[in-house]
Symmetry: C2
Subunit: 374 residues, 2 copies
């Protein structure tokens, strides 16, 4: 049921059919190298989040550049990564229900698998599944460091779960999941800094309590593209889970730096390639990329190369552009690049990355874990 | 690259893995029968829009119940429909670029294909593609009846295009595409009625002008689930393109009837089946269906069976529920049904429909045109 790739290797960009998920390979590679360089010398390891790209090909490139492994959110994503050759995976999420726990435990026979918990009953189920497969699974207790989503809300509750895990034959307590997802898109630098200070304080206090009770807590993992510098400098976090830095998106590009400027640290490398399919009036053009070609949950996409053209409205299969000044390149049949509002759920709509270098298709990479929701 | 189905045929609903796209087959079948009954006696034919379901299995059931064929929006959708046995398809959209036009013309050798145009250059390209495959294609001129998207904005412009089509050896002018997409979700009955009155007036006037110039205009096609009764009663429209009526969604369920009540004409048959994966506090539960399991472009999903539980926020792989009263069924491991905010882009996230009857899995239908964006 996978769709055909929208291009052939070697074809010029102009011949790539639309809508397509295109990647500027030079920019992607610069981003993939830039993050390890930015954290060099800090006592943290990089474990990029693969929920952004859903591609073992990209995961293996990140590992080649020094990452210790990758994160994912779903067992089905972990399965796709292991199938593609990745051998060290943190499912940075709770996994609930016997079907998924059996799959996770079975996978742990073939790769190093870690998972998060925030519930004692879930630990018992995880232990049962691991026992059935004689599998060893690393377990992190998730603490809610401010995102208000999953995770226990007190250090004492985290300790209680760590004690249960530490007693298990098949499970190893490996530390704390302390991801402050709510801080990634706080617009001002100071808001993000303060949010991570609070997160790091709670993580440090929880780690201290657990270790004071005789249980080693080697790992404190979290961080994203919007805040990683704060976690890296915290002396608390040992591992960074940045995902979006490789692609970026319109929402991340709006984050402000310490001087109050929107000056993204990473380059936009991911675009939606789209065709003008209608030009009913001078002020309006319609492109073939709508809600099924890009996710609008974090705002509409931007038109990449035409400052006077604004993507104003998305319907299922159409994007309505406002042409604010007469401009070349928005006639019927013209193709243009959009910067998606939110990279992760946009990638999840496609079967193929079309990798572009020097205006030519260099690679077609499957979005291997596309739709891997279970 | 397709994902495994989340269940086995015959399994109880409780064993379906999550998130999953589940369909209440009894409700689906009642909806599929209800629309033809509602328009019985009206001089209109039903051509349901398959962009909602992306499934030739469902399309063929609609045709069995009297539909003359189906619509779709993309050539790749038409390819999936023809591969699944559908033989009469209107691509209710402009198709631009030689790659897509060649595919469309080739497909017209294997099925009755109609397509929309709003540009003379595009007609020339379509004519060339049809000639290359010695294919016959029906062509409708799209007029903008108020949605402000594609379509020519004057009757004279429509006539000019109809004249070009009428001269083509391979193309047949078949009428007008007159879909008022902007009217479907106008909340009040009177707003919707007035919008369709205006649309029908412009369509009638355009049809009259074309016919006064000696070109028959047999078809005026449009309408959706929110307005079909008005088009059916208009004496102008000959064909209805409703799509969502088979599934419904939270957004359509908010439309008001003539008495000012939200009393949907069709039943909710489509749900997202999801698991509570975390219950950090009494007031908060977290489910495993987020932005990659449901589209939030038209608002958040509703919790189907628990009135005191509200889906308050979606992140990539999580949904945060507010538990407003103590209630059973939202503990870790519990599964519940969500009503998606917008059915079409939600369906597009899944590879499988899980058809449920009597609390048991009766069928697994591929979402055959999932991701068919080109």
């Amino acid at each position: 049921m996978a769709n055909r790739p929208p291009a052939e290797i070697g074809a010029p960009l102009a011949e790539v059919d639309t809508p397509a998920l295109i990647v500027d390979l030079d920019a992607l590679e610069r981003n993939m190298r830039a993050l390890p360089e930015k954290i060099a010398g800090r006592p943290v390891q990089l474990r990029p989040h693969s929920k952004t790209h859903k591609s073992p090909i990209i995961a293996l490139k990140q590992i080649e550049l020094g990452a210790v492994g990758v994160c994912c959110q779903k067992v089905a994503e972990a399965e796709a990564l292991v199938a593609g050759g990745v051998r060290d995976i943190l499912v940075a999420n709770e996994v609930v229900g016997s079907i998924k726990l059996h799959r996770l435990a079975a996978l742990a026979r073939h790769a190093s698998i870690a998972v998060c918990v925030d519930d004692a009953g879930n630990i018992a189920d995880l232990q049962d599944a691991a026992a059935q497969f004689d599998a060893r699974i690393k377990v992190l207790v998730e603490i809610d460091v401010g995102a208000g989503r999953c995770g226990v809300t007190s250090s004492e509750a985290a300790l209680a779960l760590a004690q249960v895990i530490a007693q298990s034959k098949f499970l190893t307590f490996d530390g704390l999941q302390a991801y402050q997802g709510g801080a990634q898109h706080l617009r001002s630098y100071d808001e993000r800094r303060q949010a991570i200070e609070r997160a790091a304080r709670f993580a440090a206090q929880t780690k201290a309590l657990i270790e004071a009770n005789g249980i080693p807590c080697p790992r404190v993992t979290g961080a994203g593209t919007g805040t990683y510098a704060f976690e890296a400098a915290s002396s608390v976090y040992t591992e960074l889970q940045c995902g979006s830095y490789i692609f970026m998106d319109a929402d991340y590009n709006r984050n402000l730096d310490a001087s109050g400027n929107a000056a993204p640290e990473f380059e936009q490398s991911l675009f939606i390639w789209t065709t003008v399919m209608s030009r009913p009036t001078a002020e309006r053009a319609v492109v073939d990329a709508g809600l099924k070609a890009l996710s609008v949950d974090s705002g509409l996409p931007m038109v990449a190369d035409l400052p006077d053209v604004v993507y104003a409205r998305a319907s299922d299969e159409h994007g309505k552009l406002e042409v604010r000044q007469p401009v070349e390149g928005v006639d019927v049949g013209d193709k243009l690049r959009l910067i998606p509002g939110h990279c992760d759920p946009t990638v999840n709509l496609y079967d193929w990355y079309v990798g572009i270098r020097g205006n030519r298709v260099e690679c077609l990479w499957p979005v291997a874990a596309r739709g891997a929701v279970t």
